[in-house]
Structures are given as C-alpha cells and as structure tokens.
Symmetry: C2
Subunit: 514 residues, 2 copies
C-alpha cells in the first residue's frame, strides 16, 4: 500500500467522507487512490477558495470535517481567505496539501514555496509528513485536531514521495475529542448576574442549536434578562416555534445603543462584543463602561452543559421559554422591489428545514427580523469577514444535507470573489437557490467612507467602489457555468422565481436588481 492509499483509508476510518478538491501533478497519487478506494465523495472546484469555503459549510451542517486536496503552496494560498473564515467560524477542516518530493524542494523549482509558512496563519495544526509510513498516523492526528471543539483548521502537507512510496499504514478511527468543560466556578456569579432587563445573556457557537436556545429561553423567562447572539454566527436555528434571538448589530452606533442598557452580561460561547472595524474617535469595545462581564463558557466548551446547569441553578427547568417565535409570514408584497419587500419575499419563501447562507452584506440587514416567524430553518453567517464565503459555503451545506434546500443570499460584489462556485453547483446538481443582490457597488464601503471620516468623496473614490461600469449580467454568468437563471425587479417575479428555484432539482440563480 502506498502513502496516498493509507491516507484515504485513514480519512474514511475517521469519518471524513468528502473531499473538496483541485488537484495538480503533486497530488496525482491521491487522485488515483480516491479513484480506486470507494467511499470518498470527491467534489471538484475550479478555484481553491470554493473548495475551502465548501469545507466550512460542510462542517457547520455535518458537524464533522471534510477534507480538501490542494496543489502545493499556491493552491493552499488560493483557499486561504475562506480558511480564515472557517477558522473564525470554528469549523473543522482537514487540508491535504501536496508538496514536492523532499529531494526536489532543495532545487527550488518554480512551484516551490514555504507551504508551512502559508498554512500557519490560518491553521491551528500544521504538519509535514516525512514518509509514506507516517502518512496514516499523521492523517488521524489531523482529523483529531480538526474535530477539537468547536472545530479547527488542520493542514497536513504531503511531499509527493510520501504518496507514491510503499509502506503506507492506515491508522484506525479515533473518537472525536470531548469539548472542554465550562467554567463551573462561574455558575453562581452568572446566575446572580441575570436579573431583569438590564442584564444580557449573550450566545455564540453551538449555544444557538434549537435545544440550547430553548434552555436560554427558559432562563430569560425566569430572570427577565435579554438574549442576544453575536453579529456573526456560524449556525443558528431559527423560525417558527424556536426561541428568537436578535444579533448584536454591525453598525457601530446602533450596536452601542443596543448594548447600552446592559449592566451585567453573561457569555455562553460568545465573546464580549467589539467593533468589526476601528473608526476614528469611536470606541471599539461596544459594552457600556463598567459592565460586569461573566464568561460561563468559551467557544469550544460544553455550551449545552453550561446552559443546562445555569437553567438548573436558576430553577427554570419547567419555566416555559420566552421569545418563542410564532409562525408569522408577511402578506405577499407587490410591485417594484425594495429592501423591506425583498425581506418579506424571502421570509415567505424559506422552506421548512431550509438552510440560508447569508452574505447579504448591506442588503440583508432587514432579513433577520422579517424572517423570525418563517418556517423553521438554519441560518449561517460569515464569521471571518472575508467576502466570497457565501456561494462556496452553500455548496458545503448542500453536500452535507442532500435532503434540505439551500438558499444563498449574496451581494454582487461578494459573489464575484468565488463566482466559480456556480460551476460546482451545476456539476454536483446541488439544490441551491442563489439570490444575487445586484446593487452594482461595494455599497457597504460607501457608508464606510463616511464612517471613517471621509466626507464628500470625489468621483474617483466613488468609482473605486462601483461595479456598474460595466454592469455584471448575472443571468449570462450563471448560464456560462451551467446554472439556470432569471433576472427580477418586481415582487411577483421574485416570488415566482423563488417558487420555481426551490422546487426544482439542482441549482438556480436569481439576479435581484435593487
């Protein structure tokens, strides 16, 4: 058995069943191994940012890692920004990166680069396997690292001779590491802190499962505290029948206002709120001065255990949860679309058990309240702020959950970053309905110019933030990669397009001109 074969056997034995890939010469033995060892679904991407973003989406929905197979340093580099997003989301990913044979590295060939150096800023775990014999155990260690709660980026670099040499030994399956315990010593302080509307229970990570939200709802009902989530959530269960949780807003002035009332804050899987960016003359810490902040559980800890223990300490186990959303979808809007009507159309369209991948940077700020009473669904945010996360993450979610419908909501500027994702959606016939909000600008940056104190920007500055010269034609873009598409400007057109897209087999795209 060669090293490449021991890799595939080890990944399969450890529950890694999907490989998002764009291989090259140095990975050909892995391609051959994937070919003749059954069990691994290989999903080809035309740019590595699609592969790594898909691995992020897969982990969020499957709660276990996929692998990526990337070509040397540049292949890894192309996937780096979506690995950054995955890292910030707490997603586990097993990157397999090919490398030249050891004897070749010292010759400094064109594709030679410092792969470990490229990997390190986005990886929790990096290792270069020295021989075919070590590939199996190193792969098992990589999966274990990736499965360490909440999920980590593990990058295993495999020189091509470790793939083609014999002596490969598959490693056996290991148990996923248990999450770390929560801060039991903080339990009484946390329970005492939550007392009325001036106190906040701030949730993040896996505190946003349906079950954990219900526990949080009981705590809120018992204590009168408010519940919020972080602005960016890797995955939140939402919709009718679930405890509805608002997000700490992105715009700094609004966030400061929302957080101003809270004198005591308890964190479960969340971090104390800070600004996404620094702005001249504005605070970066968003909580009121002197707010008492208690960390009951950090990301990666047993968040369900923390919330249950808090609930028990407060004697709220039987209290009916507060803030349970009632089924409530708006009337069908009519006529030309605006942001509120768009939000209403989306709320009406979300199917039961739908997965919404949200990269609607500016367009989507009204979506959260509007969709509170929609059919029960799962909502994914971009946690690392690097745009181009939406379409790839939708691929991963669809691969993880073939029985669920995926809606990808994205601005045009964001979608262009990893537009190659459309081709993979078509190739894999994934049930993804993509909505492109075509405002034909980096609209968020128009506001940010003002926020950082640049008043009255001139024509060249505005031009640098505009995407309308030429306008992107998303219908032709989608068709060019084998995805059906339609352009809409009216509510009725959007409703029809959503109904069609969400009922058909395979992907479709709707260009929403706003």
């Amino acid at each position: 058995m060669n090293g490449a074969e021991s890799l595939v056997h080890t990944l399969l034995a450890n529950g890694v069943e999907v490989c998002f890939t764009n291989p090259g010469t140095s990975e050909m033995h892995f391609v051959a191994a994937l070919d003749h060892i059954p069990g691994m679904r290989s999903v080809l991407a035309l740019q590595e940012g699609v592969a790594t973003g898909a691995a992020d989406g897969y982990y969020r929905m499957a709660r276990k890692p996929a692998s990526t197979l990337l070509h040397l340093g540049p292949g890894l580099a192309n996937g780096l920004s979506n690995l950054h997003n995955a890292k910030k989301a707490g997603s586990g990913v097993v990157n397999i990166v090919g490398e030249h044979a050891a004897s070749h590295i010292e010759l400094d060939a064109p594709l030679t680069s410092d792969i470990e150096g490229i990997a390190r800023p986005v990886s929790h775990w990096v290792r270069t396997s020295p021989s075919a014999e070590t590939v199996g155990k190193d792969a098992a260690a990589a999966v274990e690292a990736a499965m360490t709660a909440p999920g980590q980026i593990a990058t295993l670099i495999l020189p091509s001779d470790t793939a083609w040499n014999t002596g490969g030994t598959p490693a056996e399956g290991r148990e996923a590491p248990a999450p770390s315990p929560f801060e039991e010593g903080a339990l009484d302080t946390a329970a005492a802190a939550l007392d009325g509307p001036e106190t906040l229970l701030l949730l993040g990570g896996t505190a946003l499962t349906e079950e954990n939200l219900e526990t949080a709802g009981r705590i809120a009902a018992k204590t009168g505290c408010k519940i919020l989530s972080e602005w960016s959530n890797a995955r939140m269960e939402r919709g009718a029948g679930r405890v509805a949780v608002g997000r700490v807003p992105y715009p700094i002035d609004i966030a400061l206002k929302v957080l101003e009332p809270f004198k005591r804050i308890v964190l479960v899987g969340a971090r104390a709120p800070i600004g996404f960016f620094a702005y001249p003359g504005k605070p970066a810490v968003l909580t009121r001065e002197g707010a008492e902040i208690t960390t009951l559980a950090k990301a990666g800890a047993d968040l369900g255990g923390a919330l249950s223990a808090l609930c028990t300490t407060l004697g709220a186990e039987q209290t009916p949860p507060a803030e349970v959303a009632e089924a409530d979808v708006p009337e069908a809007p009519t006529g030309p679309l605006d942001l509120d009507k768009l939000a209403a159309c989306i709320a009406r369209a979300i199917p039961r058990d739908g997965i919404v991948v949200d990269e609607s940077v500016t367009t989507g700020r009204a979506f959260s309240p509007a969709t509170k009473g929609a059919a029960p669904h799962t909502w994914l945010n971009n946690c690392g702020g690097s745009i181009g996360y939406g379409l790839p993450t939708a691929i991963g979610a669809a691969v993880a959950c073939p029985d669920r419908r995926v809606m990808a909501l994205t601005g045009d500027g964001s979608a262009m970053y990893t537009v190659q994702a459309l081709w993979t959606m078509a190739r894999e016939e994934l049930d993804i309905t993509t909505l492109i909000f075509a405002n034909r600008s980096y609209k968020i940056l128009r506001g940010e110019l003002t926020n950082v104190g640049v008043g009255n920007p001139g024509p060249r500055a505005i031009d640098m933030l505009s995407l309308d010269r030429p306008a992107l034609d998303w219908v032709q873009m989608a068709h060019s990669m084998g995805v059906d598409a339609v352009r809409v400007t009216e509510c009725e057109e959007l409703e029809a397009a959503l109904a069609d897209g969400l009922s058909r087999k395979g992907p479709s795209l709707i260009e929403v001109v706003i």
Copy 2:
C-alpha cells in the same frame, strides 16, 4: 497631511503611478487620498488575484513597479498565488495592505489575522508601519526594495490609524538600486567553455531583451555554441529580425534529451535546468552527468554587462549574430482547427510590437517554433507555475503599454482561476484579445497521471480532471462581464475573429474549441 496622503505622494515621487486595487473599510483613507491627489491611476479588480497578477504584468513591461491596495490579511491572501508567480518572475511589486488600528488588533476582531505571516512566504521585504509619521519613509523603502534587481515583492502593512492620523511626511524620490555586478572572475572560464555544438549558453531574465539576445547571437556565431532560454521566461523579445532562442522543454523526457549533448553550460540570468516536478524514478537535474556549469551572472546581476564582456573576451563584437529569425509566417490554414493550425493562425495574427501573455499550458507547446518568424513581439511566460496568471498579467501589460496590442493565450482551466479579470479589461477598455483554448479538461494532468506512474486511471480520476460536466460557455462568460466574444472551431473563423479583435478598441474574447 495624514498618513494616507503621505503614502500617495511618496509613491508618486518614486515613480509608482498605477494602483491595482480592491479596497475595504480599513483602506478608505487611501481611497480618499487617491481621489484627491492626482497622478495615480487606480484600477479596480473584483478579486485580489487579478490585482497582484496585473502588477506582475505591469512590471515586466514597464520595468518599474505598480502598487496594489489590498484589504487586510484575507485580501492579501487572495492575491498570494499571483504574488508567488511575480516573485518567481523577478517582478517588483509594492503591496499596500491595510490593517486594523493597533488598539483594535488586540481585540481579535473577525478580520484580524497575522498579515505579516501571510505576506512573508511571497515577499522579499515586509514591514508594518507604526505611525502616520513613518508611512512616507517606509513607502520609499518599499519601492526601493521592489526595484532591487531583478525586481522584488515588497509588502507594506499600514494600520488604519497610520492612514487617518496627521503627521504624514512624504519621502523624496530615490534612485533605483543598481543591479549587482556579474561574476567577472568567471569570465575567462565562461569564454573558454563555449566551444562548439556541445556547449550551451543558457539565458534567463533580462538576458532576453532584443539587445542582449543580439550579443548572445554574436557569441553563438563566433563559438558555435547553442543558445537556449529557461522554460519559463518573464519576458522575451522575439520574432522576425531577432535572435531566436528555444526554451528548455517542460516534458522531462524531452528536456533530458535536448540537454544531453551539452558538456559545458554557461549561465547568464538563468539557473541550471531542473524538472518542474519530481517524478518517481526520474532525475530532477536535467543536465548530463558531469556537465561543467559556469555561472557568469545570476538573475539580478548586470546581464547586459555580462554578455557584452563575454562577447568582447571572445572577440565577437563584429561577428554577425547567429540564429536571427527571418520574417516567415505560415500560409493561412483552412478547415477544422488542430494544434498545428492553431499555432499557424496565431503566428499570422501576432501584430508588430504585440505582447503575448502565454498560459497555454498544454495547447501551446507548438506555438514557440511556429511564431519564430512572426512580426516582432514580446512573449511572457508563467514563471511560478500557479495557474490563473494569464488574464491578470495581460491587464498589467496593457496598462503599462497602452500603445501596444496584448494577446492572452490561456487554457480554460487556467482562465477560470482569475476569470474576474475580464471585467477589469472591459472597465478599463484595454486592448486585449483573449484566446481561451477550451479543451474542457485539466489536460496536462491527464498526462501527469501517467508520468507519475498511475497507469490506467479509472473513471473517477478522469472525472476529477474534466471540465465538461457542464461545459463552460465562454461567450456567455465574457458577455456577463462586458467583453465581446465569439466561439470558433474552424481556421477561417479564428482568423476573422483575430483580425476583428486585434483591430478594435477594447477587449474581446475568442473561445477556441479544440
């Protein structure tokens, strides 16, 4: 004056007149400074790989660096693989990367990352400027680093408070550093080594200018030595009236055969030939065993001086150069296209002073001999092996040389990597004719499977290297980004499309189905 303004003034004073950019919030003060300080051409890219690839192409043709303006670690990360290519090409690039304000970094916001760590593997020079006061002198140092021969990657990281704070002081223009001297001590050895057809003068880098090639041609005529260039050349002057130089072939077995005769090799700007990849059981060093290799000048040294001195030592100053290409274009081929007919069409179409950016990984192996006698032109190769270099590099070449025509030759797989480049071509109305060779596969990898010893690949392996499910529609792809396009399968269609594309204002695309 704020730091951002001092940056722009310093770049302009040091001859940096173009900025390839995709800015974000942390770069808004630079956008404002670019807006109100005249002199810097800002070229917007929809993905940073386009921006950095364009900077590579710009340097090759302008012989001076452009700047890039990139958004934090992820923006730099997206540009990393084309920076790898630029580094290997010896291109100078000044990357300006925004960073959070210092006080914000410690809060670990979503977009916080180790920017220096991301920059280092592809940069010769990395610095984070600590204050508005230091931005000017650090920017001047960055340009100086970028201009150090043959050209280097300089990455200057600017926390947003260094941009918005006052105290900015522009630095004055500096002279570009002189190239290092060649190995004068090796001159006699080199002169003695070149003696008949068993000796090779191997050229790279700026040894491939028209003038330096002529000098090499005189040396060859005088000594009977052969001349070759490296496989990957950042820029080579070619065509009728110029000394024609073949490339060391990419396929390892052919390269070994071509190099087998040479007992003595003199290197001027080139490195001793090695394989692009390692293959099981094949050598990585391509020269014959015991070949005597003399390095007269490394990349970055005074290559023109080295060749002139060698020529003088050999008394060849008045010898008419060998291997001067005669004007010789093939007859117009007819009927369905094949690789030889394609090469003939391209040879006929290359306009006087045309710039050919070549990323025709498999399709283009016949182009080099076929175009030897075409109109005088400049040919650019991918030097780092990371695909997706072609379309962005064409942008940079067109921006550097607005009076010259650019032809971008690229495979479909490569073009998809940075397909967003088409939009920038349309926006800037660049005179670029793009030929997409649509073989609908990663064709090179089919061969590489065999080369690394994987015989008889199964259907899943072949599927992982195929781009035909679905086929990409390049005409719609181009249209979606505002570029006119046509699909051709016959020689006559291709000739007509080339004639049209090369005579019109602005970009066009030809999908060549092969």
